[in-house]
């Protein structure tokens, strides 16, 4: 319990740090958001007026202090250009992103675990080598290339899936597979070594000696033990996914927070950039926390410290 509390406090401090650094970066940036809002034709007086209205004429620490005060109350500020609450904007986009990430994790596990299990069972043979090479390719392929390739083959040429957009299951498949492919290589390798280790264990030999078939031993005895430590890593993935969604969502026109962030960056809509960065950081911190808390539940030899 002490451990959990300490980790929670630590996570909160990390988020505070992330908010501070992002704020500093956006404060010193050469692009002036007020100019963007006011438009080119605005007079100097109008520009100064808007600046004062947004509180952007205040010194840095006061601006940051105000932001933090709002943050504590769950207020992420208002978008400069869309005139909407950032919390509301992110809230309306978040379900799409969460759906995509969940589907991405499923795709990643299906691809990665299958590859890893097959490689472990055929260890040292041609299939194993081909799969391990594939795992290297998947982690070396940038997501925009993968997404364009999938789009070209499965949407343009074969016409199985729509070219982009949101709404049905068919829309979800290609972006989810794109997200899943990157991580599948890591899972394939982790799964392979976990499986090989388990297959060497004494209780597997015992099970075989009892006369159980190889298939039964693999499915009932080896697999559950090998798979757990690998699945426990899912939390750590969230960080990787958070990076990927900006690219994947913009290629597939998926209306999530990645697309929101990308549009905001292009228009220097600082409150949105701040908001999405914080939400992403929160997801990453929670993911790591989850991974750390789950590990000892699965393997009691790992102690919390």
């Amino acid at each position: 319990m002490v451990y959990v509390t300490r980790r929670l406090v630590q996570s909160a401090l990390i988020l505070l740090g992330v908010s501070f650094i992002t704020f500093v970066l956006l404060f010193v940036l050469p692009a002036d958001p007020v100019r963007q809002i006011a438009g080119r034709a605005a007079t100097a007086a109008t520009v100064e007026n808007i600046r004062a209205q947004l509180g952007l004429d205040q010194p840095f620490l006061i601006q940051y202090g105000r932001y933090l005060l709002g943050l504590i109350q769950g207020d992420l500020g208002r978008s400069y250009l869309q005139k909407t609450e950032v919390a509301e904007l992110i809230g309306s986009r978040l379900p799409a992103t969460l759906l995509l990430m969940a589907a991405g994790i499923v795709a990643e596990l299906i691809l990665g675990l299958t590859m890893g299990i097959a490689a472990a069972l055929y260890r040292g043979r041609a299939l194993d080598q081909a799969l391990m090479m594939t795992s290297f390719v998947t982690v070396s392929a940038p997501q925009f290339v993968v997404s364009l390739l999938l789009l070209y083959v499965f949407a343009v040429q074969l016409g199985w899936f729509p070219i982009g957009g949101y709404g049905t299951f068919a829309h979800l498949v290609l972006p989810a597979v794109t997200l899943g492919i990157l991580g599948s290589g890591w899972y394939a390798r982790m799964m392979r070594s976990s499986m090989i280790e388990v297959l060497r264990a004494d209780y597997i030999r015992t099970a075989r000696a009892k006369g159980l078939t190889r298939a039964r031993v693999v499915l009932r005895h080896a697999l559950p033990n090998a798979i757990l430590p690998v699945i426990a890593m899912i939390g750590i993935d969230i960080g990787v996914f958070m990076g990927g969604i900006v690219v994947v969502e913009s290629v597939f026109g998926w209306p999530g927070i990645g697309q929101l962030a990308w549009q905001a960056i292009q228009r220097v809509d600082i409150p949105i950039i701040m908001g999405v960065t914080l939400v992403s950081a929160l997801a990453i911190v929670l993911g790591n926390l989850l991974a750390d808390l789950i590990a000892p539940l699965i393997d009691p030899r790992i102690k919390l410290k």
Binding site: V18, F136, Y152, M242, V246, I273
Partner: protein, 285 residues
């Protein structure tokens, strides 16, 4: 360290050799680009487009076809290799330097500065790296050097963590304590005993890091916030031509394949180096 045998063990790995061959090819091709390239990289060729103004597919006078502006894709690819390699080596070099410094200071000298550095590293781990990089380069209207710097600022974190862990475990080993009782100072211990032991780790992470860097540069350039046209980069070739990719897929997939090949090559070599240089990995599959 047994250098020659490490090299021999590296050469015994087919995948590592394949990686090294790819890297060598890209290095040679980019170095010789001005002599190999059939055209100038920014030259819009008169016969580079069809009469309707569409780009030409691979074959004929243009080995890899032409792009939307009628420029030779093969030529742009060769010059793009320069961009990838310059950024790969430069950005990763800076990241490696920062990471190693932070890791050593935090792991060896500890104290308040070390603590502060590691807390900062933890904090950077929670940053969505790609988002940060996109933000920074979108803000700064990047040149080649800014892109390299942005990537370095995002990518040093992993190295710092690994070097920190290595250094802390080294610093508590008996031979360091023995050295201290013999009266060795911090500097001597650091340069004679700690640094040499960190070299394999630095080599491994330096190689793997180039792969990450190449991918990040390509992604930033694809989004239009990386290396700016007309300077060719494999990422911005795709960025410039993606609107037309259904009709002219070669403009996306040839540079795409180049990016994957180069990143893959550094990953394969880095992974093999880890097995070869790290004694604890020896004998494992």
């Amino acid at each position: 360290m047994a250098e020659p045998s490490a090299l021999r063990r590296l050469m015994a790995r087919k995948m590592a050799v394949f990686g090294m061959v790819v890297i060598a090819l890209v290095v040679v091709a980019s170095a010789l680009a001005p002599w190999i390239a059939p055209y100038a990289p920014e030259e819009q060729l008169f016969d580079g487009l069809t009469l309707e103004g569409a780009p030409l597919p691979p074959g004929g006078a243009f080995v890899m076809g032409t792009d939307l502006l009628g420029r030779d894709l093969f030529t742009r690819l060769l010059y793009g290799a320069q961009t990838s390699l310059i950024i790969g080596v430069l950005a990763n070099g800076i990241a490696l330097l920062i990471g190693t410094l932070v890791g050593i200071v935090a792991g060896f000298y500890r104290g308040w500065l070390g603590g502060l550095l590691m807390r900062f590293t933890d904090l950077m781990m929670a940053f969505p790296a790609l988002l940060l990089a996109i933000c920074l380069s979108a803000i700064f209207r990047p040149s080649l050097w800014i892109v390299a710097l942005v990537i370095a600022l995002v990518n040093w974190v992993q190295t710092a963590r690994v070097i920190y862990t290595e250094t802390t475990s080294l610093a508590t080993r008996d031979f360091i304590a023995a050295e201290r009782t013999l009266g060795a100072g911090n500097a001597r211990i650091l340069f004679r005993h700690i640094l040499p032991h960190l070299v394999p780790t630095i080599i491994v992470w330096g190689t793997l890091g180039i792969s990450t860097t190449v991918l990040l540069e390509a992604t930033l350039s694809f989004l239009g916030v990386g290396v700016q046209p007309p300077t060719p980069s494999w990422g911005n070739i795709i960025f410039e031509n993606q609107t037309y990719f259904q009709a002219a897929p070669w403009l996306v997939f040839i540079p795409g394949a180049a990016i994957i090949a180069l990143a893959l090559a550094f990953n394969l070599v880095g992974d093999a180096l880890r097995d070869v240089l790290d004694p604890t990995q020896r004998g494992r599959d």
